[in-house]
Every structure is written in C-alpha cells, then in structure tokens.
C-alpha cells in the first residue's frame, strides 16, 4: 500500500508539469498559463507578408518583451518606408491597455485605442488582439478531444469569451501539445463562427523554456498569410521595467 501511494505521488509530480493532470478546459488553460516562461525575451524577427496573389513584403523587426509579453516594444528596421516606426504595448490588469506608435515622419508618439484590437498590425495578418495575451478569467474553456498534429499528441481546447467580454473572435480552438503544454495550432473564428485565422507555431527548447522559432498566421478568408521567423533570441537578460516607456520608442537600445 505504501508503495502504491509513493508511486501515485511520484506520478503526480511528473504529471503535473506536463499537464497530464489537467482534466478540465480551465485546468488545461491554467496549466498553460502557469508554465514557466522567460522573465524577458529579446529577438529579431523577419515578418513576411504574402498576399493572395503570392506577392510578398518583408519586414525586419527588433522586439523586446517581458511579463509573458504583456509588455512589448517593437522597432521596425526594414523596409525603408517603415524604418524607424516603433510600437509599445503595455497590458494592464486594472485599466485599459496602453498602445503607442512612434511615427518618425510626424515626429509624434500617437496613442492608439486599445479597443481597436481588430486593426491589422502594420498591414499584417496579425491584429493587435492577436498580439495581446488572452486573460484566463475572460474565457470559458472546454476540452473537445485529442488529435495528433504534425506528429505531436495534442489536446483540443476550445476558448470562448465570457458574456460581456468584447472580442473580435467568437471562439478559438487550440491544439495544445500534451508533452509541452504549448499551442501548436490555434484556429480563430469570426463573429459569424466562420474560421478566420489559422496560426501555426513552432518552438525550440532553451534553458528549460519553449521559445517560439516561427509563427505562421493564415487569414483563410482573405487568402493571405504572415510568417514571423525569430532569430538571435536572448532570454532572462534582465530587461529593466523602465525600458517599456515612450522615450525608448524613438531609439533602439543596444
């Protein structure tokens, strides 16, 4: 009997971080949120926009984020007509989020409404909402089943905004890796419950973290897509909280 309890306890200890313990949708979502993540992350990104006709436009971006990407600052390095544009996002739990855009041609930092979340981010298939975290308490969750996606065993998690929570999507279906508790594939449905976007994510292990290496967002209704490829990633470098201030939009710190 003692051996059985010990085995169960050891089993629980192993199972807990892997998310096997998650039985309900909320528990699974909570386990994903509680998963250890870097305190901060610096990376370069190549954002490639491809339209329906196959024409592409490539941007180079420098990004620094902290607090699970609740604070993020982005500088556009290329192409030439976007160079110098910078974006700052700070998500607040107790008040409206702050979003600011530095427009060098106007020499102004333009505060933009955090409620305009459906707007495209710099013409990409990513909206501002796609770039913000989903608050755990603002959704209801349900596990719809299991599926193998690209050889990875996944839970199928449905997230639906609670009544009174205004979102541009009606619901999401997320394929969550059972082993790593990360989203492999995320499908966003518009207010008419038609599939609007499909987001595929790839990760790599580094210092115990699952770090994104590529995000591919496809707007299935428009036929366009955006691919974000990460490089030169650095984590836990001790990014100071005061980096996420308006003054740093105007120049990229070294």
């Amino acid at each position: 009997m003692k051996l059985t309890i010990k085995t169960v306890l050891i089993g629980l200890l192993i199972a807990l971080p892997l998310g096997i313990f998650a039985e309900t949708g909320f528990e699974l979502a909570k386990a994903m949120e509680d998963k250890i993540s870097p305190k901060d992350m610096k990376s370069n990104m190549t954002m490639t926009l491809t339209n329906k006709q196959g024409k592409t436009r490539e941007s180079t971006i420098r990004s620094i984020s902290a607090d699970d990407s609740r604070k993020q600052i982005i500088w556009f390095l290329a192409p030439a007509d976007d160079k110098g544009v910078a974006f700052l996002k700070i998500e607040h739990a107790d008040k409206d989020d702050e979003m600011r855009l530095w427009l060098p041609a106007f020499k102004k930092v333009r505060r933009i409404s955090s409620k305009k979340k459906a707007d495209s981010f710099m013409g990409s298939d990513l909206s501002y909402e796609d770039m913000t975290s989903r608050e755990l308490d603002e959704y209801t969750y349900e596990i719809l089943g299991e599926k193998v996606v690209d050889g990875i065993e996944c839970h199928i998690l449905e997230s639906t905004p609670k009544a009174g929570v205004t979102r541009t999507y009606k619901r999401f279906i997320t394929y969550v890796s059972k082993a790593d508790l990360v989203s492999i594939l995320d499908e966003a449905f518009d207010t008419r419950d038609k599939l609007l976007k499909r987001r595929v994510m790839k990760f790599r292990k580094d210092k115990g973290y699952d770090l994104p290496t590529e995000i591919f967002v496809e707007n299935v209704q428009k036929g366009s897509n955006t691919r974000l490829v990460f490089s030169d990633q650095e984590v836990d470098t001790g990014v100071k909280a005061n980096l996420f201030q308006e003054k740093n939009l105007k120049r990229m710190p070294k």
């Binding site: 329906k52 030439a80 008040k95 409206d96 041609a105 020499k107 933009i112 459906a118 120049r251």
Partner: protein, 453 residues
C-alpha cells in the same frame, strides 16, 4: 556660406563614423501638379528627394535631414535648392532626451492641424503635405524628462524664424499682398520659450503647454511716408512696414477613447501684442486675444477602413488696434485737407483709404488663414492586400461657401516604390474675398513617384 559650413561640419564628422553607427535613408519623390481646367503645369517648387544621415555613438546621436528642392520650369542647380532642414545633436540621459541644433518640433494631440503647435514655422509651399514635411526647422534646444506617467518638455529657441510664404508666385492660389520693397522689423526679443507637460492615464493622455514667442506670420507695423518726390511734383511714396507680434500661447490637448471611438482635441488661447518699434513712422499697434480649437473624432469600421472628422475653429475674443500717426503723416493729411488743388485728388482719395488693416492671427493652425471655421472629413482604406491605398477628404468652410475635395491613390509597384496620384478640387462662393473661390483655379492633379531607400 552657412550651407558650406554645414557641409564641412558633416564631412568633419565622417571619421567618427568608424566608431559610430552610421545610417543613411531617404526618398526620391519626383512629382508634378497639373491644373484641372487646362492641364497646364503649375509652376511651384517641390522636393525631389530627402536624405537623412544619422550617426549614433553611445547615448549620443547626430541627425540631419537634407532636401533637394526644384521646379520643373527652372531645373538648373543652385545652392538654394539644397535645404538643410534639420541638423541636431541628441543626447539620451537616463531621465529622457536633450536635443540641440536645427530641428522641427511637433506638439499637440490632433492630426495635421494643431493650434498648440507653434514652435516650428510652416512652409506654405508645402501646406498640403503631411507631418514634418510642411514645417521648417529652427535653431533650438529642448529637454524632455520622463517621470513615470508624466513627461515634461522645455524648449528654448534663441533665433526667430518666420513662416515661408509664396510671395510673388503667380501660380500660388492665394496672393499675399506684400509689396516687394516692404520692410520687415524682426522681433527685438528673439528668444522664445516653451514648456509642455503630458500625463498618461488609463483613459487617455492630457497635456498642457505654454509658449512665449513671436508670430510666425507677419502683420502690419506701420507706414512711412517719403515726401521728397513731392518737391518734383510727384506723389509721395508710401512704404509699408511689417513685423512679428509677440504672442503668448496657453494650450491644452487630450486624447481619450470613449467606447470604440477615439477623440483628440486641442485648445489654444493666444494673447498677442505689437512690439514697440523704435522707428519714426505711422505705427499700427494691435492688442488681441484669440482662441483656436480642434476637435477630432476617429472611428475604425473594419480592419482596413478608418473615418476621421475634424472641426477647426478660430475666434477672436477681443481685439484693439490703434494707428499712431507720425508728424509726416499729419503734415501730409493737413496739407491735403487744406488745399483744394484738384491735381491732388487722386492722392487725396488714396490717403482717405489709408487705415489700420483688420487684425488677423499670426500663429496657430494654418487653416486660420483660409477660414475661421472648417470641418474636415477623411477616410482611408486599403485594397488588393494593402497594395492599393485609397483616401478621400472633404473640407467644408462654414464661414463662407467653400469646399475642397481631395481624392488620393497610392499603388505599391514594388517594395519601396509607390505611384501616387492626388486630385484636389476647390469650389468657392461668390462672396467678396472668398478664399476657396481664389483656390478654384488651383484645382489640380498631382502625380508622382516615391521611392524609399
């Protein structure tokens, strides 16, 4: 000479480039304006290209912006074509930023029309451009400190700089009545000071500002009468003198986000006074208070469609003006009254019409020059996966009959290269002095390419 020194200074900086981060960017923007009524070319200057050269070394940066201005009817190169629009040094201390040199400033929460933004003069040749493209840099020093949710900015401008007006330009639609030989009295106290405090809140940002400076647009200072020609039986010569009034501006601007709307607003209170000019002439003095405001409303309908509306107003609260006649003026006036010589009748008639011109604002939003009340509505949307941008703008003059419509397209030919076309159409009423009527012949199609590198 000044330009040569600037070039030498820039060249002297080149050895530092080995240690610094060096960055060159710019654009080529050849364009031409054709009149709609006869497809003739409008002969006004345009910027053929802009180049920005930046050096960054540690917490310091040197930024320069140079433009090449030309016109199709006179494309020969001259030194005046090269415009050193900005050249300033930036230092990023821990508290914020410090800038020193020739630079363009931008204050205010609204887009394009900012009554609180009076630090940099406007270039009226480029009034229909956006952003800093229509402003002129001035020598100044500015310090900005970031203190949590607050920002404090202090600006000092030691050298006065006025708006650039297209004077004696037959193709410019609004003729500015300034004689070629008009004499300008520059302000004696050229030092201008400004301060702005901005506070960020959950619901939006609020700012207040103060600026003590000199008008950017000239105003009548007086008349000088040269009676010498009368000795040979000719009419006396009247010389017009102009100056820049000293003006204090108290500003308030805010941006808030009620529901799905965005509201940007600005309010500026101006107190202006003609300086005491130590010069013997018949003087015109003004002492006035006026208020300018902008209320901007934005709404985003869908991913790619935005609607913006602006209401701009300019109200004179109180205006006192005085014409202080000098001995020359009084003597001539008396002579004309006392004599019944009919040969002097034309001069008498001319003299009887002399008086102090009506007060007009010398600072604030440039639209105050056209109207005291306008509404602007604009919309912008993209098609063909962001390769084609369409924009539309309608301006309605609420003072007199007047409309301006602007339809723009920008097509992305390839990365960095756009084909732009803008149709500007003006309709004015028949009232005397209707500005929009004067603009009717200026209705034009502007076609150009823009290549960014």
């Amino acid at each position: 000479m000044k330009k040569l020194i600037s070039v030498l200074l820039i060249l002297a900086m080149i050895p530092l480039a080995a240690l610094a981060q060096f960055n060159i960017s710019g654009d080529l923007t050849p364009s031409g304006m054709l009149r709609i009524n006869d497809a003739s070319l409008i002969d006004l200057p345009f910027r053929l290209g802009n180049i920005s050269v930046d050096y960054a070394y540690g917490d310091f940066e040197l930024k320069t912006v140079t433009s090449l201005e030309t016109r199709w009817n006179n494309p020969e190169f001259s030194e005046d074509m090269l415009q050193f629009r900005e050249a300033y040094l930036l230092w990023y201390p821990s508290f914020g930023e410090v800038k020193l040199g020739k630079m363009i400033h931008a204050w205010g929460a609204a887009d394009a029309n900012n009554p609180t933004d009076n630090l940099s003069p406007y270039d009226y040749y480029y009034m229909f451009l956006s952003g800093t493209d229509r402003k002129i840099g001035s020598m100044s020093m500015t310090t900005k400190a970031y203190l949590g949710d607050a920002q404090i900015e202090l600006v000092a401008i030691p050298q006065f700089k006025a708006n650039r007006f297209p004077i004696n330009e037959p193709d410019f639609p609004i003729q500015i009545p300034v004689p070629e030989d008009a004499h300008y009295f520059n302000p004696e106290d050229e030092l201008e000071l400004g301060a702005r405090i901005q506070y960020a809140m959950g619901i939006g940002d609020i700012s207040t500002s103060y600026f003590r400076g000199n008008d950017r647009s000239f105003s009548p200072a007086g008349l000088e009468i040269d009676r010498a020609p009368m000795n040979t039986g000719q009419a006396p010569v009247l010389e017009q003198h102009l100056t820049y009034r000293s003006t204090d501006v108290i500003g308030l601007d805010a941006v808030v986000f009620p529901g799905n709307w965005t509201l940007r607003t600005e309010l500026a209170y101006f107190r202006t006074e003609t300086p005491d000019i130590d010069y013997s002439m018949t003087k015109f003095t003004y002492d006035a208070k006026y208020l300018q405001s902008v209320l901007q409303v934005e709404y985003a309908f869908a991913n790619t469609v935005e609607l913006m509306a602006q209401y701009i107003s300019n109200n004179t609260i109180d205006s006192e003006s005085e014409m202080v006649k000098d001995a020359n003026f009084i003597a001539l006036e008396t002579m004309l009254q006392d004599t019944s010589n009919h040969a002097l009748d034309p001069m008498r008639a001319q003299f009887s019409q002399l008086g102090i011109p009506e007060f007009s604002a010398g600072m604030g939003t440039p639209f105050a020059l056209i109207s005291d009340q306008v509404i602007i509505m604009s919309s912008r949307f993209t098609l063909m996966d962001n390769n084609l941008e369409l924009s539309g703008m309608l301006m309605v003059n609420l003072d007199q009959t007047g409309y301006m419509t602007n339809l723009g397209t920008s097509y992305s030919i390839m990365e960095g290269l756009n084909l732009d076309a803008t149709l500007a159409y003006f309709i004015g009423g028949d009232e005397a002095g209707n500005r929009f009527k004067q603009l009717e012949d200026f209705s034009n199609l502007n076609i150009g390419l823009s290549y960014s590198f």
